[in-house]
């Protein structure tokens, strides 16, 4: 049935009880419903509700139509549970649907192609999911960040709201903070990476709504990525070296059968009310080394940038960006997993590079999330190491 003007093909006619034409437009008061209708749909068995919602999800598979799947998730608790089951995580479906998906690992076998637009005047950065094959034709907004300069560091406040990146914004979801020299950065997540983990059901065929446990972790800013920039042996004449310690992702995540933390529910918070947590996890999972730094006992995933090769003919350093980066820049990089022995994996997990004056592409995949990827890319804008 069409509630919009001009809609024609799918029509349930005017036979809805107690309704009369004209059609209702988006945002107008809802349909008048009689009591008989009200009670009957509420008793629809979950498997039939699932059948209906799956049909909606299949039809509205890409943005902007995907917003109607999001709408179904906002109807009531049981609908939300069904929709979350159906849409699955980006790791499995390759799609971003609900806002929490920006904090969930990307697809396993291919990257999600996004782009970042920089605004130098307002010192803001906007991340979009690419919707077409063209590099930066059109996109679905994902995250925004604004840079704040402080006496001893820079801070980028990251928000789900394209326009509101203030510290008091209710859509604050994390931040990036640099050290004084702009060589080390920390990405902070406003919620614990394991928050709202769904427990698996013992009866997989019966849908009784998602059961969620919120682990007893206090609200706070959790450090999830530690980023370090270094000059390489050639100093500023060579590409800089980047190392990212993914505090929330175990090294086993990139091994066969490995998994990465996948939060299931987003919590919005106000930056001012969140304390900074010194480390992730409980104290028992950390140990102090000789210089007093804290290290997690379980090995964390470490990412390093893929070393470019010197191209004699072109007289420059080259990386194969597969057409996704078109402008030479010191900011461009590709990150791969590196184990404790320094062995690098082949698969590029995060790629970032310039395609226009203030336009950059960002491609990320499992086990990294859009939020973490965005934070890492922001640091690339900020670091003072090496001149451009």
């Amino acid at each position: 049935m069409s509630f919009k003007s001009g809609g024609a093909s799918r029509s349930l006619g005017h036979a809805l009880s107690s309704r009369s034409s004209p059609p209702v437009h988006d945002g107008e008061p809802s349909v008048v419903v009689d009591d008989a209708q009200r009670s009957c749909w509420a008793s629809m068995p979950p498997e039939l509700l699932r059948d209906v919602l799956m049909r909606v999800e299949v039809e509205e598979s890409s943005w902007p139509a995907r917003k109607y799947v999001v709408a179904c998730a906002g109807v009531c608790k049981s609908w939300r549970g069904v929709v979350k089951e159906i849409v699955m995580t980006p790791e499995v479906s390759g799609r971003l649907t609900l806002p929490i998906s920006v904090k969930q690992p990307g697809p396993r076998n291919f990257p999600l192609q996004c782009f970042i637009r920089r605004n130098r005047t307002t010192r803001t950065y906007h991340l979009y999911l690419g919707l077409t094959q063209a590099l930066t034709d059109s996109g679905k907004f994902l995250l925004a960040a604004r840079k704040y300069r402080r006496p001893t560091c820079s801070e980028y406040i990251i928000s789900l709201n394209a326009d509101d990146m203030s510290k008091g914004s209710g859509t604050y979801i994390g931040k990036l903070r640099s050290n004084f020299f702009g060589t080390r950065f920390v990405v902070y997540d406003a919620q614990h990476p394991d928050s709202g983990v769904t427990i698996s059901r013992s009866r997989p065929t019966r849908l009784v709504g998602s059961k969620q446990i919120a682990p007893r972790v206090p609200a706070g800013n959790y450090p999830v990525v530690h980023i370090a920039y270094e000059l390489n042996v050639l100093g500023s004449r060579g590409p800089r070296r980047i190392q990212c310690i993914m505090n929330s992702i175990p090294a086993s995540a990139v091994e066969p059968g490995g998994t990465a933390p996948t939060p299931t529910e987003l919590s919005f918070s106000n930056l001012d009310s969140l304390p900074s947590m010194p480390f992730l996890g409980s104290k028992s999972s950390w140990t102090e080394n000789v210089s007093g730094s804290l290290f997690a006992k379980e090995e964390m995933l470490v990412l390093k940038n893929k070393s470019p090769r010197w191209h004699d003919q072109l007289q420059c350093w080259c990386l194969n960006f597969r057409g996704r980066v078109t402008v030479a820049s010191v900011k461009n990089f590709q990150l791969v997993a590196s184990d404790s022995a320094g062995q690098e994996q082949d698969m590029v997990l995060l790629q970032f590079g310039k395609v226009g004056k203030d336009l950059f592409t960002m491609d990320y995949q499992y086990p990294i999330s859009a939020f973490q990827a965005f934070g890492i890319c922001l640091s690339s804008f900020d670091t003072k190491l090496a001149c451009e």
Binding site: F3, R10, S11, L12, G13, A15, L16, S17, S30, V31, V32, V33, Q37, C40, W41, A42, M44, L48, V52, R55, V56, E59, R66, K67, Y68, A71, C72, V75, C76, K77, L98, P99, Y128, A134, T136, D137, S138, G139, K140, F141, L160, N161, A162, G170, T171, L266, S267, F268, C316, W317, C318, L319, N320, F321, G323, T326, A328, V330, N332, G356
Partner: protein, 197 residues
């Protein structure tokens, strides 16, 4: 098998005296008696009645005497279901008449009738009809926003205030901060491989 004279109500509402056929008659002529929850009886060709897997199984299990009771289905709904069977059973999937019937079937159905048909098709185990009705509902709600969906289904919002605030944010900001045209500025591809000049 003794035959009995019973009064049955056919689709058109005309009561006639009919004879329940003996089981020894061929299935092409055999008719099955179905009884709705109100006690109304429908005489239906066995061929059509087998449009329901549940009924089909009952027939195969030897249920041939008297009426098959369907306590979960009302007479108006059952009459619609029988109509559906008449247009579909024994026909190919691409039959034009059947598709035309389907279009009209859902077009004139009110949302509460659609609900009844879904429940009946589910109970009677008639998958094609269930698919048709579920798809009609999905088509209806596909382009609706949250309020409209709640109104259509008569669903009460049971979110906590915090959850409701998050839902609003989701639907207002996340869903609608959408498609943005890039500046279309694509510089020439210098081999796509350059890191540093």
């Amino acid at each position: 098998m003794a035959s009995e004279a019973v009064a049955v109500k056919i689709q058109e509402g005309v009561a006639v005296d009919a004879v329940v056929p003996a089981a020894s008659e061929t299935s092409a002529q055999r008719k099955i008696l179905l009884k709705s929850v109100e006690g109304e009886e429908f005489l239906v060709d066995e061929l059509f009645a087998r449009g329901s897997k549940m009924i089909s199984n009952m027939i195969d299990d030897g249920f041939t005497e008297g009426a098959i009771p369907l306590p979960n289905v009302t007479a108006p709904v059952l009459s619609k279901v029988v109509e559906y069977w008449k247009h579909h059973v024994g026909k190919s999937e691409t039959d034009k008449d059947a598709r035309e019937f389907d279009r009209a079937f859902v077009k004139d159905a009110s949302s509460s009738v659609l609900f009844d048909i879904i429940m009946a098709a589910n109970y009677l185990d008639c998958k094609p009809l269930l698919d048709l009705a579920c798809q009609a509902v999905a088509d209806a709600i596909r382009d609706m926003n949250v309020e409209q969906v709640r109104g259509f289904f008569g669903i009460t919002n049971d979110f906590t205030p915090e959850e409701e605030a998050a839902v609003l944010e989701e639907n207002r900001e996340w869903s609608n901060a959408l498609t943005v045209t890039g500046n279309g500025q694509k510089e020439s591809n210098e081999g796509g491989n350059i890191v540093l000049p």
